[in-house]
Amino acid sequence: MRIDTVLLKVASRCNLNCSYCYVYNMGDEAWKGLPKRMRPETQDRVIRQLGELYRRQDHPFAVVLHGGEPLLIGASRLSQLLEGLRSTLPAPCSISIQTNGVLITNEILDICALQGVGISVSIDGPAEIHDSCRVDRRDRPTHAAVVAGVETLKRHRGAAQLFSGVLAVVDPTSSPASVYAFFKELSVPSVDFLYRDGNRSTLPQGKAAVDSVEYGTWMTGILRVYLADRNPPRIRVLDDMMKLLLGGSGVKEGVGLTDFGIAVIDTDGSITKTDTLKSSAPGDRFEEPWSVHTHELAEVVQSPAFRFYHDQQRPTSPICHSCPHLNVCGGGMLTHRYDDANGYDNPTVFCADQKLLIARMTEALPPHLSLPAAA
């Protein structure tokens, strides 16, 4: 198996307290026992082991600084970390930061530009939508601060390389056209829309029943304005799904059937499962306490236990295997398939939503199109 993405948790805490956060507000309490920031000795081991993984794998992968809020480590530590990472992971390995945007400064951006690091900002849309969930630790709105961070990013001389795009969590009660218009106004290069986490036993916020289609309906609204836009940004989830319908390939986790290899390293150096599983199985960890302090990452990812975890992403439900949309939907994210009764052996809780969205996409694509890769 091959690693695509290493999620590096450089800070276990966050300066925001978003109501839907799978790290802090969906039952997993592991963050409380972790160092607030990755210590220098852990960081040194991580850098060396990622370099070793690259040499052994002989294939590039992405490193994403994640949290919590990764910019909480401060400019000085960030500079040291990025310099170390880039020294062992030259292009085409990508290094990026997923941030809430509040702590973006020109000093931070200069450091990122120097090391060829991309920045993705989490922002959900207009203030009234964003601030309904994305608040600080005193429940104060954060939209103005995030927009200020995005504007600082856009003004930077290296913005074209620095600014990757935004992640937006869907509020299915909002107006898709208004959200799309907001991101157009903000002039972001790309948007990825995420469904709120949940599963078949604990439904995502805004979803009334497993077979209801609030999220699918909302996404078809985005699809409508996206397809009609004469100068559209990139919308990753829609692009990936339509590429699959056209016979191409997608890259996004939880879409399509391409295996996704992810390793997560926490601030204490422990090697853990993909973090989104916190929303369905709080406390789910590898049986063996793998850590960069006691193990070699390149060996861990080749172990039978890691491979078992990796293979869990492949859909197992007979319903999925008889579904004509499986090659596009991919069964959704593993965490969204969970049910208290039988674990992950189910279609995604967003199955009906995805079917609706795929149907609308199919209608929108030219019916006569037959591309070479479609076989």
Binding site: D4, T5, L7, P60, F61, A62, V64, H66, S94, S96, G118, Q161, S164, G165, A177, Y180, A181, E185, P189, S190, D192, L194, T220, L223, R224, V225, L227, A228, D229, R230, P232, I235, R236, L238, D239, M242, K243, L246, G247, G248, S249, V251, K252, E253, G254, T258, F260, I262, D275, T276, M333, R360, E363, A364, L365, P366, L369, L371, P372, A373
Partner: protein, 53 residues
């Protein structure tokens, strides 16, 4: 700027089918799929990792 004001009437009326032949987004995707049809399917663009959060 309100993007809705820049959309053609078909989009404002909510009909994807009418928009498909002139959709920039679809044309872009078709070209990308065509150009990568015989290449390794996994892409590592600088924009995104594959993680979904």
């Amino acid at each position: 700027m309100d993007v809705r004001s820049t959309l053609p009437p078909t989009a404002q009326s909510g009909d994807c089918l009418d928009a498909k032949l002139e959709s920039v987004a679809i044309a872009r995707l078709i070209e990308e799929v065509r150009s990568t049809a015989f290449e390794v399917t996994r892409a590592y663009n600088r924009t995104y990792n594959r993680h979904n959060r």
